[in-house]
């Protein structure tokens, strides 16, 4: 499916989706509560069949966080990027997609650890790298550490 077709079809599924076509892939920007309703058909519909979640990450934009899901299909070989915007910076929450792609489980642990995003319905949410005693979320822009060496 080309970018245009994807954009058209996705617009049908989610009314609130905004699109950004400047980059290499089609970017779909949605608010965080809309994530599951959009992403489930993307995985399950035969025409999309985005079965391969190859990159999950989070970007801290200071006044909001955005979760970035890079999806591709091993069947159709088309790619799209779903960006879910989390507006609540102090207590960010989003639905887990670990039930849809198993790779999300460990990756969401990493994001929880480094960004502090809580994933709802995640089977085993824990701090993967830093341990439970660690204060703060290092990859946030406002994170400061007294031991940090500034070069």
């Amino acid at each position: 499916m080309t970018k245009e077709e994807l954009k058209y079809k996705l617009g049908e599924i989610s009314r609130e989706a905004a699109f950004d076509e400047t980059g290499e892939f089609l970017n779909v920007i949605i608010p965080s509560p809309e994530l599951l309703p959009l992403i489930k058909p993307l995985r399950l519909n035969k025409e999309f069949y985005f079965d391969y979640l190859f990159c999950i990450t989070c970007v801290d934009w200071k006044d909001y966080l955005s979760m970035v899901y890079h999806l591709t299909s091993t069947l159709h070989r088309h790619t799209c990027v779903v960006q879910a915007t989390i507006t609540d910076v102090h207590c960010p929450q989003i639905e887990s997609v670990s039930g849809i792609w198993k790779t999300a489980e460990l990756n969401e642990n990493e994001i929880y650890d480094l960004f502090g995003v809580t994933f709802l319905n995640h089977p085993n949410l824990r701090r993967l790298f830093l341990g439970d005693q660690w204060k703060g979320y290092p990859l946030r822009k406002d994170y400061t550490d007294e031991h940090m060496i500034l070069l």
């Binding site: 400047t22 391969y52 190859f54 790779t103 790298f129 341990g131 990859l139 070069l151």
Partner: protein, 384 residues
Amino acid sequence: MQMTRKPSDITTDAKSGEVLHHEGEFIINMGPQHPATHGVLHLKIWLEGETIKKIEPHLGYIHRGIEKMCERLSYRQFIFSTSRMDYLSAHINNQACALAVEKALGLEVPPRAKAIRIILAELTRIASHELWWACSGLDLGGVTPFFYAFREREAINDIMEETCGARLTQNFIVPGGVMSDLHHNFQKRVKRVLTQIKDNLHEYDEILTGNIIFQNRLKEVGYLSREDAISYGCTGPAARGSGLSCDIRKLYPYDGYEKLDFDEIIFNEGDCWARYRVRMAEILQSVHIIEQLIDSIPDGEFQAKTKNVIKLPKGQFYQRVETARGELGVFIVSDGAATPYRCKFRSPNFSNLSAIPQMAQGAKIGDLVAIMATVDLVIPDIDR
């Protein structure tokens, strides 16, 4: 009849009330210091006898926050830090970063630089697979293969040292090309190494591949179906052993791989033996790629002209390459400044690690070692 467990059979945590383990089960911590985890990987394993019930990876023993570091480094500088992620394919990691920057800038790399990059990348891949072969023999109890593979790997490292200046963390790539031209001995020595590898590969087969003990240790062990490989986001030889076509060099060619003739190695069995054969065949494919290029490296510049301070346009850029272990993705979010706003490395080992609990379900401890050997984890790449 359904088995019911008495409450007394369950050990719970005094504080949280969480179920720790059942009667007859016991937990061992494999790692962070363990001979078979090749680094500081910590696997918490629930065992029943010798059979593995559940595995939980605990990470972060060498987490250095490379992604955070990259936010403070300029686009010329941040390349070097990726050498420390998957240190066995350092050159390919550097290539990924440089490609991402070049893609964002729309920079055309001179053909000579492209050829040099590919040759060095394939040499890195061979060296990495040699080390993997050496260590997988060692993991399964055969010490001797280790030295046979290191003989060839040393020869490759010598070439790297001569041309790049370093044996392992080369940092030879800059945005727009490579740091310097090839050493005048390069072609001669590469050809010699290729002949050496081709002459010695039969020894690998004699001592490990054809060995009945080795084959029995790998066959029908650590099964990963194609669906699971996709779902776990596995890439590289680990996924290609499960029949998933995922070679970035074929699917999304970069640096001129599209002009080269090579095969994507795919086996459908999904067990350790399939993954083993994928890697063994990939060594030959890499040899084949280098052979095509080594006599026809184009003349010309080895570096495109770039500005002193590189500033990327605003936007998000994703570049993937095929390292020796699978797909490495570099995701750069730029806000137009001279440093990346956010830099994410999608490392192949992290996803491959997440599939290990699935593969090792119901296996023995010895099998887990075989699985980890054939998945070929590099821990610094997981922890980043």
